[in-house]
Every structure is written in structure tokens, then in C-alpha cells.
């Protein structure tokens, strides 16, 4: 991958480096991990998930608060951070895009 392309790629998809498994560093795409976990939790909780566009309001996503609680704890395990607990003045995101931004912001 050329340097210019990599820079563009990294601007669009924040790469988060999570230290796990005895120091082995894994790279993970924050957005795709969030999408995966949304789908996983929705399936487990038997919820119909709306298409995950940036403008989608979380209240209309199909997930209830228990599902969100589970989602946040799963993301803490996979991405290594919980932006809601880490910052006391964290605003709860309104849209799916806000939600992704919040995690990408912590990952930077």
C-alpha cells in the first residue's frame, strides 16, 4: 500500500491497536467491529436491526437499553475501551455516526 493511499485509508477508518494475548498487538477497524457487534447483539437479543447508516438515530436502531449495555461491554472487550465510563462528561451519542465517532475518538 502506497503512503498516500494508506494515509487516506487511515483517515477514513481509524485503526485501533489493542494489546491483547500476551502483548501480541492486533489491529482492528473500529467501525467494522462496531457494525459486527451491533449485528451480533441484535441477533442474540432477537431484535430487528435497522440499516446502520451514519444518520440512523440509535433510538430507532431496534436495540433496547439492555442490548446497548451488552454492546458497550462487548466493545470494551474487543476494542479495549469504554468511552462512556472513561469520561464523565461523555455525551451519549444520538446517531449511529456519533456512536462510531465516539469510539474512534477514544481509539486515536
Amino acid at each position: 500500500m502506497g503512503a498516500a493511499i494508506r494515509e487516506r485509508f487511515e483517515n477514513k477508518h481509524v485503526i485501533c491497536r489493542v494489546k491483547r494475548f500476551k502483548g501480541k498487538t492486533l489491529t482492528m477497524n473500529v467501525r467494522s467491529e462496531i457494525v459486527t457487534q451491533f449485528r451480533q447483539v441484535a441477533q442474540e437479543q432477537d431484535k430487528r436491526l435497522a440499516p446502520l447508516t451514519d444518520g440512523l438515530e440509535l433510538l430507532n436502531s431496534g436495540l433496547d437499553s439492555l442490548s446497548f449495555a451488552i454492546l458497550v461491554t462487548r466493545l470494551e472487550d474487543s476494542l479495549g475501551s469504554d468511552p462512556f465510563s472513561e469520561s464523565e462528561d461523555a455525551q451519549f451519542p444520538v446517531t449511529f455516526g456519533d456512536f462510531v465517532n465516539l469510539y474512534e475518538h477514544v481509539a486515536k
Binding site: L66, A69, I70, T73, R74
Partner: protein, 465 residues
């Protein structure tokens, strides 16, 4: 039959009525003691008379020495406080204060601030010396047990020999055939029951040792031909993980102290097909209430009405007990009354009635609050433990910024398995939980761990949120 009428005046007297026929012994990993020798001598260096009418703290490391001291002091001392071996030293001064202790019996050196009021320090190392006096019962001794609370100074719970032995049928034939053992330390209620059961019925008793491994203990149990053995479900789960589990062949297995779920009852029946397996409900405060011997978790609802000498009721979801086997009070008034105005002890063990059978769902103070909905960790563990690959599990709370708390599970598997099969097991467990439990009770995450911490009391260590 009224047990109280048949109660011996003292433990010494009880032992002396059976010793000729049965010649029982007490045995620990370190030493053996024939009760016949103990009756004619003294483990307290012949200083028992000095303790007549005293309040005595028994704080030995060795269980066998404590057992011998109990036999010698019951009916002589005014009060005996049974300190478990893991009692943190910093609690001793407050226990001495609360118990108004005059004397300490120990196999180690105990000194320091807080021991000033104690006038006699009796050192004993298990040697029996001759004594020059009789052992006539002089008073009804208070037996003070320490509750194994999770944090803080333990509560001091007052019993008598009569309340402690109310559930023991000492009229059974004594043929010296029965050898008891227990995973419990005998200074906790569950272990003390087994100690007294052996002593009242002329049976021998093999003691466990905190210093030795479960495998060592099982080997000793097997070598001595133990016939009757008790422990908590956690003790038994740990025992079944040991390759030494096959070294024992008990006739009777007794579980108490924690909820005996169907999985552990089934596993024990599988490994010990020759054994009768029973689970008992007892607490330090409420005493022994009943035994369940049908091999099924929980108990038939008729038990509440048809248990002789024990009155039971369920109020606000928890089991309440009134009987002559309950403790009389807490020694410290600050812990409040032990019973309600009608004499019932609230066990705080919560019950659920389904199809005419009561099931224990957990303790009132262990409830996890998931967004306003209650979860008892034990009810979730019961479901997880049904999975054939699961050896034991601990369900705990995890803080959540959304619902306040969530349920997560730590799980110990039967055998080592690779990451792929673990992923399958994880999905299986979650599926099982989703089928059996409301969605807020299903663990948000499942962590596989190699072991779970079990307290010296034999119970899983739970940290309440």
C-alpha cells in the same frame, strides 16, 4: 421424640457414653487421637478447672486440638468462642472484647494490644496429660460461632450444645461402623454439625487440613475407609476435578452451605453410584432445618409443613425458620436481633415455588440490579452448570453506563479445550441461558477461567456490588 429431653448434659458426657462400645478416634493429617485417651486425660495441660465458669476463646491453628478442647470445656466454661483458623489477627481484640474473654486456648503465641483483659493463656500442642479431677458438668456452656461474612468483623452467634445437636438422632444403633469426614473446618457451622454428629453417635471423624491439597485429603479419606462425608457444592466440584476423586467410596454424601444444583447432584451420583446423596439446609443463625434425599435440587413444598420440630414459612420471598435449633442471639447487640418478634430467623435465602417444589434462587443481598430488574447470580449459575462441559461458574455484576449493572459469568470448564471449541461452548452456554432465563439474566459476556476462588468456608467468594 423430644431431642432436648435426651440431650446429654455435656459433650464430654455424650462421648463417654459411646466410647466403650465404639472406640472412636479423631484424626487429622498430623495426628490421631483416641477419644478414650482424651476422656481420661487433658489436652489443656490439666488446667481445665482453672477455666470453670470462664469465657474462653479457642483460637488454635490445628482443628484436632480445637476439637479436644471443645470436648473438655463444654459444661465447664461459661462460654466458648470457636475461631476459624483463617480469622484475621486484627479481629481478635474485638472478639475478645465482645466475648468478655477471660482465657485463650491456642497452639500458637497470641499477644499484643487487645488481649490485656485475658488472664489465662493456655498453650496446647495436642499432647494429653493426666488430670486429677472429674469432668462433672457445671453449667450449660454458650457455644459462640463466627459467621463467615464477606467483609468486616464477623458476627458472633450464640448457640448451646442443645441447639447445635437438635437435628442429630443420637438414638441410632452404635456399631462403630460409621467414619465421618468433612471438607469443612469444624469451627464453622457446617463442619461443627459433622463433628457433633460423630461425637454424639460414637463415630470416628477424619478432619481436613487447610494446609493440604484436596487430592491429599481425598487420599486420606480413601485410606481410612470414610463412609460418610460432607461439604459444600464448591468443595465437591473441586473434589471432582481431582484425579483422586476415585480414591473414595462413601456410602453417604452430604451437601450444605450453598445451593446444591442439579448438575452437582447428577455428577456426584455418576461418580459415586453406590452413595446416598443428600443436601441439607442449615445456616449458622437458623440451625439445621431439613435434609433433602430425593436427588433433586430444591425441596418439595410439603417440607415446609411436615418437618418435625422445625416451623418454616416464606415471607417476602425468603425462608424463615423457628425451632429449638436456631441460635439464641448475636453476642454484640449492635448486630440487632437475630430473630423477629415471633422468634423466626430470616435466612435471607430467596425461594421460588414451581410445580409444588421450592427452588433456592440466591441470597437477598447478592442481587444484581440490571436496569431495575433483579438477577440472583445463583439462578444463572444453575443454568450454566447444566452444560456438560462446565465444571463450575461464578456469575457476577459488571458496571454498565447504560443499565447500571450487567451480568457476566466466569466459567471453569471440565477439560482443557482449544479456542475453537471454547467459542462453540460459549455459544452453547448463551443459547442455554437464553432458552431458560429472561434476557436481562443472560450473561453479557462469558469468560473462561482456570479456577474460581473458594473461601476457607468452602463457599465461592462473591463480591457484592
Amino acid at each position: 421424640m423430644n431431642m432436648l429431653q435426651n440431650s446429654p448434659a455435656s459433650l464430654w458426657e455424650a462421648v463417654s457414653t459411646t466410647v466403650d462400645a465404639c472406640d472412636p478416634f479423631l484424626s487429622s493429617a498430623e495426628m490421631n487421637l483416641a477419644l478414650r485417651d482424651l476422656l481420661s486425660g487433658s489436652v489443656l495441660g490439666g488446667r481445665c478447672q482453672e477455666l470453670s465458669g470462664s469465657s474462653v476463646v479457642i483460637a488454635t491453628t490445628d482443628q484436632l486440638i480445637a476439637a479436644a478442647a471443645l470436648i473438655e470445656l463444654d459444661g465447664v466454661a461459661r462460654r466458648m468462642v470457636l475461631c476459624p483458623p483463617d480469622l484475621p489477627a486484627e479481629y481478635l481484640p474485638s472478639i475478645i472484647q465482645s466475648a468478655e474473654a477471660d482465657a485463650i486456648v491456642s497452639d500458637r503465641i497470641i499477644q499484643g494490644p487487645g488481649t490485656a483483659r485475658v488472664r489465662s493463656f493456655i498453650h496446647c500442642d495436642g499432647k494429653i496429660t493426666p488430670k486429677s479431677y472429674g469432668s462433672a458438668c457445671r453449667c450449660e456452656t454458650e457455644w459462640v460461632l463466627l459467621t463467615s461474612g464477606t467483609t468486616g468483623v464477623p458476627k458472633l452467634v450464640v448457640h448451646t450444645l442443645a441447639s447445635l445437636t437438635g437435628a442429630i438422632d443420637s438414638g441410632k444403633p452404635r456399631n462403630g461402623h460409621v467414619i465421618w469426614s468433612t471438607f469443612y473446618d469444624i469451627r464453622r457451622y457446617g463442619g461443627l454439625q459433622i463433628f457433633l454428629r460423630a461425637m454424639m453417635t460414637g463415630s470416628s471423624l477424619l478432619l481436613s487440613s487447610a494446609q493440604k491439597s484436596t487430592a491429599d485429603f481425598l487420599a486420606r479419606v480413601g485410606a481410612h475407609g470414610v463412609t460418610h462425608i460432607s461439604g459444600t457444592p464448591s468443595h465437591w466440584r473441586r473434589a471432582l476435578m481431582s484425579s483422586s476423586a476415585h480414591l473414595i467410596a462413601p456410602e453417604y454424601i452430604r451437601l450444605s452451605g450453598e445451593i446444591a444444583d442439579q448438575a452437582i447432584l447428577n455428577h456426584l451420583a455418576q461418580v459415586y453410584p453406590q452413595a446416598r446423596i443428600g443436601h441439607a439446609f442449615a445456616t449458622t443463625e437458623a440451625g439445621v432445618a431439613f435434609d433433602v434425599n430425593d436427588g433433586i435440587t430444591g425441596f418439595p413444598s410439603s417440607v415446609l409443613r411436615r418437618t418435625p420440630e422445625v416451623e418454616m414459612k416464606v415471607e417476602n420471598g425468603s425462608l424463615r425458620i423457628r425451632s429449638a435449633r436456631t441460635a439464641s442471639r448475636y453476642l454484640d447487640a449492635e448486630h440487632g436481633p437475630l430473630k423477629d418478634a415471633d422468634g423466626f430467623v430470616d435466612t435471607t435465602d430467596m425461594l421460588d415455588l414451581r410445580n409444588d417444589r421450592f427452588y433456592f434462587v440466591g441470597r437477598r443481598d447478592g442481587v444484581i440490579n440490571v436496569g431495575g430488574l433483579k438477577v440472583h447470580p445463583e439462578e444463572v449459575e444453575e443454568v450454566i452448570n447444566r452444560h456438560p462441559e462446565v465444571r463450575m461458574s461464578l456469575v457476577r455484576t459488571k458496571k454498565s453506563p447504560i443499565t447500571g449493572a450487567l451480568v457476566v459469568a466466569d466459567v471453569v470448564l471440565q477439560s482443557r479445550s482449544g479456542p475453537e471449541s471454547r467459542q462453540i461452548i460459549r455459544q452453547d452456554i448463551l443459547l442455554l441461558c437464553r432458552e431458560e432465563l429472561a434476557s436481562h439474566k443472560v450473561p453479557a459476556t462469558i469468560n473462561f477461567v482456570s479456577a474460581l476462588a473458594v473461601a476457607d468456608s468452602g463457599k465461592l467468594i462473591r463480591r457484592h456490588a
